[in-house]
Symmetry: C2
Subunit: 147 residues, 2 copies
């Protein structure tokens, strides 16, 4: 088992970040504009669609301002069964996000790609909250021939 880890600080309250992770408008503002479903209730499922495919995330845990945990229930084979964990903490004026995408069976090349891409989307989340403008798919930053 191998994990993707990231840490980003957003000049905002943890409540603002929590909202960006649990509402459809919030999620659509930084990850993909094509987002539907229910992200604000445990057991809800959110469908994220991108150009080449997408992911369905089931909400496993929600602690307002502190923690969000999703499990991938549909999507690329490498993603299904993995979990995406968001831990939030307030440090002075910073909302610190500790991100983990865990449970990858193998460190395949696609995992390298997803690790970089998560960093880019975390910066999109940061930008959305701090400036009002994120870069969700299809206007996300291209990192390679895999977009």
């Amino acid at each position: 088992m191998v994990d993707i880890l990231h840490r980003v600080g957003v000049k905002a309250s943890v409540d603002e970040v929590y909202t960006a992770l649990t509402t459809i408008d919030g999620l659509a503002g930084w990850w993909t504009t094509n987002t539907v479903g229910e992200g604000s209730e445990v057991g809800g499922v959110v469908q994220f669609t991108f150009g080449p495919g997408g992911f369905d995330m089931k909400v496993l845990e929600l602690v307002p301002g502190k923690r969000v945990l999703w499990e991938v229930v549909e999507g690329p084979e490498e993603w299904v069964g993995t979990q995406v964990e968001w831990e939030l903490g307030q440090v002075d004026e910073w909302a610190i996000i500790l991100f983990k995408h865990e449970g990858w069976k193998e460190p395949v090349e696609f995992m390298n790609h997803c690790s970089t891409k998560w960093a880019i989307f975390l910066m999109s989340l940061k930008s959305m909250i701090e400036t009002g403008k994120g870069s969700p798919d299809p206007d996300d930053v291209s990192i390679s021939n895999w977009h």
Copy 2:
């Protein structure tokens, strides 16, 4: 042992990327402007200095256009003894970089930070080669209260 993985594609030849990883001018153009040492010979040591500190990397392996391997010989406790591996491959007009920073003893919060920061610096490397302008320290993109 846990690793940081990334994958970025640069619209260039692997030779251009190899040069950016093995020459002082190249390295200073995307990671930190304060770079000195010898990166183009096995056994050479490159000193990378940032605002709050820095890293000394010993060059362990060099295969032109294909592979660069460094070992951290000085720096933060969590980094010393870890290895930074660059695997390069040409796919049509893309130089694909598979990056691994391996050998972390524990998945500490600093590792999350470094994972995100590596992604940002890989995008700086990509930008330097594709556009002529990278964003090395001290003009790198800030990701949090840890800069």
